[in-house]
């Protein structure tokens, strides 16, 4: 009786396991199909030729430095994008690192993802350089290796799960005050300071609420929350729009 029940249970389990696997496969295929369909709808369904993302080296150094006031960026390390990833072009001395991020650092569901025109100059303070820069470098390696958006998503997800990529440290600040930044057609320019923290709720800083000066972006798949505070001046000291 016990044995018969056990055999029956084992058979039932096998059937259930097959059913579950089939279901999982269907879900996976549907997700992949949806991702492909969304990619196809995007104006940038795939990586453009690498040349379109590259810049003249001096122009890139100058653009990277424009992310923060000169009192910060002129003493910072500067990294520039090459055909195989970012390289340090200027060695600084204040612990900050300035870099021009490309569109593969945009959220995965952003229509500007892979837009070859996007240029986002950032200057990262030392804690942000330690924990955000590895993500930028990793994403860049994946993009330059020709991975699809879905493959990049899975790779980043796995890297955080395996703790190959670090979580934000306390006290991270990123300057993004360049007047020459270009987000893409959908967005205007902004003059923010950004703060990354391990994933938390929007209310942690009162972000995204009516009248709040704090905007919030929940990363995915990265377990990171980004809080954004706009200031009223660009890095060159000129007034920036306040809305």
């Amino acid at each position: 009786m016990k044995g018969k029940t056990a055999t029956g249970t084992a058979k039932g389990r096998t059937v259930r396991a097959i059913a579950l696997r089939s279901f999982a496969l269907v879900v996976l295929l549907a997700a992949a199909w949806r991702a492909q369909a969304e990619d196809a709808k995007s104006p940038y369904p795939g990586m453009a030729p690498i040349e379109q993302y590259l810049m003249d080296r001096d122009a890139e150094i100058d653009l990277a430095r424009s992310a923060a006031p000169a009192s910060i960026s002129s003493d910072a390390d500067v990294m520039v994008l090459g055909r195989k990833g970012y390289q340090t072009a200027v060695k600084g001395k204040n612990g900050f690192v300035c870099v021009v991020e490309r569109s593969w650092m945009a959220p995965f569901d952003d229509p500007e993802f892979l837009n070859p025109d996007q240029r986002l100059p950032l200057c990262l303070n030392p804690p942000a350089a330690r924990s955000h820069l590895p993500l930028t470098l990793k994403m860049t390696d994946l993009a330059l290796a020709g991975l699809s958006k879905t493959q990049m998503f899975e790779s980043i997800k796995a890297a955080f799960e395996k703790k190959e990529l670090p979580l934000p440290e306390p006290g991270e600040v990123c300057y993004m005050m360049s007047k020459r930044q270009y987000f893409g057609r959908k967005y205007g320019n902004a003059d923010p300071l950004m703060f990354w923290v391990p994933k938390t709720d929007d209310m942690f800083w009162g972000g995204g609420l009516p009248g709040s000066p704090v905007y919030v972006h929940q990363y995915s798949p990265e377990p990171i929350t980004e809080f954004i505070v706009s200031v009223s001046k660009w890095s060159d000291g000129t007034a920036a729009p306040t809305d």
Partner: protein
Amino acid sequence: MKRQRIKTITLRYFALVVLLAAAWQAQADDAKSPYPSMAPLEQYLMDQAAEIAMARSAAPASISGDADVMVLGRKGYETAVKGKNGFVCIVERSWTAGVDDPDFWNPKLRGPICFNRPAVQSYLPLTIRKTELILAGQSKAQMSDSINAAFEKKELPTPESGAMCYMMSKQGYLSDRGGRWHPHLMFFVPLTDAVTWGADLPGSPILAAKDSLDRLTIFMIPLPKWSDGTDEPMNAH
């Protein structure tokens, strides 16, 4: 042995002289200040409804409308409104300014402030403790000693990661020199150098204040708007 004793006596004498000189300096500074000592308590108190409204004006209504509100009573702060979003709004008084601040006893000073959850846990206890000590009649020096001792005994916490607050009230009065100053956000971190955040450098939008008594650094970011949505003149920064 004898020589050692003489050295000890000399050192103690020197320490006493330094201590007396510091106390004398502090007293001299106080005497120079327009507010050399605590005013009658009534001058620091407010009508409860007015204090609640002022406390809430520190942040946009979308935040402060659901926050706890604490008001100042004769013995310290009490919760007047229970909220639900983890924020706490209060109106700070002058004794939360630095001990060498000429406005330390200024009874006109009102600092509306809304703390987020980490700041409620790690900075608000400091404000509450300072207020209780002052209202119990402690002098500035005694209050400093008590706060120092509380940190040593770990009765007061250092800032938690992500501790911040809103100070966007148009109704605030932060000092005789600066009046309501500018709407701003403040971030509390354990004592650190201003340059870690790129603060206080030419053109930087971030200002820093190091407070060794409170064992923290405050980073301030002036904002272009008050909590009611009206513009702060940009050229004022």
